[in-house]
């Protein structure tokens, strides 16, 4: 969000949101708030309840208890919801014989937008040239873009994306990242779920981590990653032998990565920097890798592999 642009998004709130499918607890007592003007990552392993939570938010799945609201209202109580909330849920919800433009037109008709808006939305996602093609011939990435065009046609204040980068090529992912940042910059609320942490880390301002249907952590990226201070630091030096000797003397564990590279585990830059300076070791590069989002994610969802996850989403 820029200082000049007032927020125009709406807050999203989960209050004790719970969904049980029979004996399976897909989502359990989830309470969180997503603020406007930020890109919020909704992260968790497959089957952690992300999609179920988003579908409850969008009125597609009824909660067992609790509530999920947008701007204080349930989705189905929003007047003409497509003008307030855009959602990209899955890239398979298309009639294969329908042309791309017609697909977006069906949404436009439903929310009172014009064909001009349809063309603008297709232009925005880079599908103008394919507007007259049937969706059946589209790649997964093109379908994602088309789904996004449908979500954006109402110029909504809230954008909800479920695994949006699935099927997108690297250019598409980069474009989506910039686009989400642009929308957040306009003050809109962007909630994006993903299990692809490397992409999210570059895009999001805030992060919500879920696993086994439960909220594990929520906060800014810095506050979340700051919780784990000791990580891995990779250094590149022409004096690897001296460096190894110093590390051994200091009681630090390390791994040789290449003839001039060493990875030192469980150390902070504040510990390693003075140590290297004291011994006057020349460094070409020092990269702090250990406290990234992935480390936090793995530590919070540890042991929750596919076998342990309920079929939550």
């Amino acid at each position: 969000m820029t200082a000049e642009t007032p927020p125009r998004g709406l807050p999203i709130e989960f209050k004790g949101l719970t969904k049980h499918f029979g004996l399976i607890k897909a989502v359990e007592n989830m309470t969180l708030t997503v603020s406007p003007g930020k890109v919020t990552g909704f992260l968790g392993p497959n089957g952690s309840g992300k999609t179920t939570s988003l579908r409850m938010l969008l009125g597609l799945v009824s909660p067992t208890s609790g509530s999920a609201t947008i701007g204080g209202q349930l989705y189905h109580d929003l007047p003409n919801p497509s003008l307030q909330v855009g959602a990209v849920l899955e890239a398979t919800s298309f009639h294969p014989s329908r042309k791309a433009r017609a697909h977006v037109q069906t949404i436009a008709r439903g929310c009172g937008k014009s064909d001009k808006d349809v063309d603008a939305a297709l232009e925005l996602v880079g599908l103008s040239g394919d507007a007259k093609r049937t969706v059946g011939g589209f790649s997964l990435g093109m379908r994602q873009r088309l789904e996004l065009a449908g979500a954006l046609i109402g110029d909504p204040a809230v954008l909800i994306l479920d695994e949006p980068s699935n099927g997108l090529d690297p250019q598409g992912i980069a474009w989506l990242r910039d686009f989400m940042r642009f929308l957040a910059g306009e003050g809109k609320t962007v909630l994006v779920s993903s299990h692809l942490l490397s992409e999210m880390a570059q895009t999001i301002d805030e992060v919500v981590i879920v696993s086994q249907g439960q909220l594990r952590a929520q906060g800014t990226l810095d506050s979340i990653t700051g919780n784990l201070t000791a990580g891995t630091i990779r250094v590149r030096t022409p004096e690897t032998d001296r460096m190894k000797a110093v590390l051994t003397e200091a009681g630090l564990t390390f791994t040789s990565l290449a003839s001039d590279q060493i990875a030192i585990q469980q150390v902070t830059p504040e510990q390693l920097g003075p140590l290297v300076a004291r011994h006057q070791i020349v460094l070409y590069e020092m990269v702090h890798e250990g406290t990234d989002l992935e480390s936090v994610f793995l530590s919070l969802t540890e042991g929750m592999g596919f076998g342990d996850q309920a079929a939550a989403s």
Binding site: R55, N80, S93, R98, G110
Partner: protein
């Protein structure tokens, strides 16, 4: 609601399957136009293969030649309207656009009914394009056929709409497109007739509230022309009695309303996962 209806109409307009079903009404009606002239030929003195329609029942049979086609095809319009949404998972987008599910169902009812009206109009176009010129070429009086418009057209229109809603209700219940289409065709062409026949034969009970029989009773003027019996007389060999026209209409309405209501409270209220 208007926006949702417009969206539904565009969806149907951009589904090739709907056009196939709609346009099939034209050649099928053409087939029953041939039947109308064959029937007229059998009534002519001396008998001939084809003859211009002279009797009241033959004139109505010609004008309502689309009746048999819509009996088969109109329910398919309804089935396709709703099952396509589940087959291609477009129901997710539909409910995101219009989260009030009763509104979605209402829009589908209106959109399907409008397509049904289009289908019945198409059958009249077939009669105008094929039947009337053919009748005139055999010396028939087109005016006397057109005199029956008031008796035939409203019944056929309404029957088509009610049949399409029956299909919509059935589609809402089954969700599966292939099952919906197969059961509709199989039920219309074979199963229902067989059940009605056997029950009448064995138990001497008229299942005259079944969809086809109710339709025949409702569209009495056309049905009489189409040889369904009528006048409460029914099939002489089976001593089958049709309902009065209003009873047939109510039964047809029931065949639409009951599955639609059940479908709303089951399929439409379910979670979309």
């Amino acid at each position: 609601m208007i926006r949702t209806i417009r969206s539904e109409l565009l969806k149907l307009r951009t589904m090739p399957g709907m056009w196939v079903v709609l346009l099939l009404a034209f050649p099928l009606t053409g087939l029953f136009i041939v039947v109308a002239f064959l029937t007229a030929g059998s009534h002519a003195i001396p008998h001939s293969t084809f003859a211009a329609v002279q009797r009241l029942s033959d004139r109505r049979l010609l004008l309502g030649a689309g009746f048999q086609s819509v009996t088969l095809l109109a329910p398919l319009l309804g089935v396709l309207c709703v099952t396509t949404e589940y087959r291609h998972k477009t129901i997710t987008g539909t409910l995101l656009l219009t989260p009030k599910r009763s509104q979605v169902l209402g829009a589908k009812i209106v959109a399907t009914a409008l397509w049904a009206v289009g289908m019945s109009i198409l059958t009249f176009v077939a009669v105008a394009a094929i039947g009337l010129p053919w009748d005139a070429s055999m010396g028939g009086a087109i005016g006397s056929v057109l005199d029956q418009v008031g008796a035939v057209v409203p019944e056929l229109l309404l029957a088509t709409v009610l049949l399409s809603l029956f299909g919509l209700g059935f589609g809402t219940l089954v969700k599966n497109q292939i099952a919906g289409v197969l059961v509709t065709i199989g039920g219309t062409l074979i199963l229902e007739g067989l059940i009605v026949f056997l029950v009448n034969l064995i138990f001497h009970y008229d299942l005259n509230w079944m969809p086809n029989e109710a339709t025949a009773a409702f569209a009495g003027e056309i049905a009489r022309g189409a040889g369904f019996g009528g006048d409460g007389g029914g099939n002489a060999s089976l001593n089958f009695h049709l309902l009065p026209w209003w009873g047939g209409g109510l039964a047809m309405l029931g065949w639409g309303v009951v599955p639609l209501t059940l479908g709303y409270f089951t399929t439409f209220r379910k979670d979309v996962t």
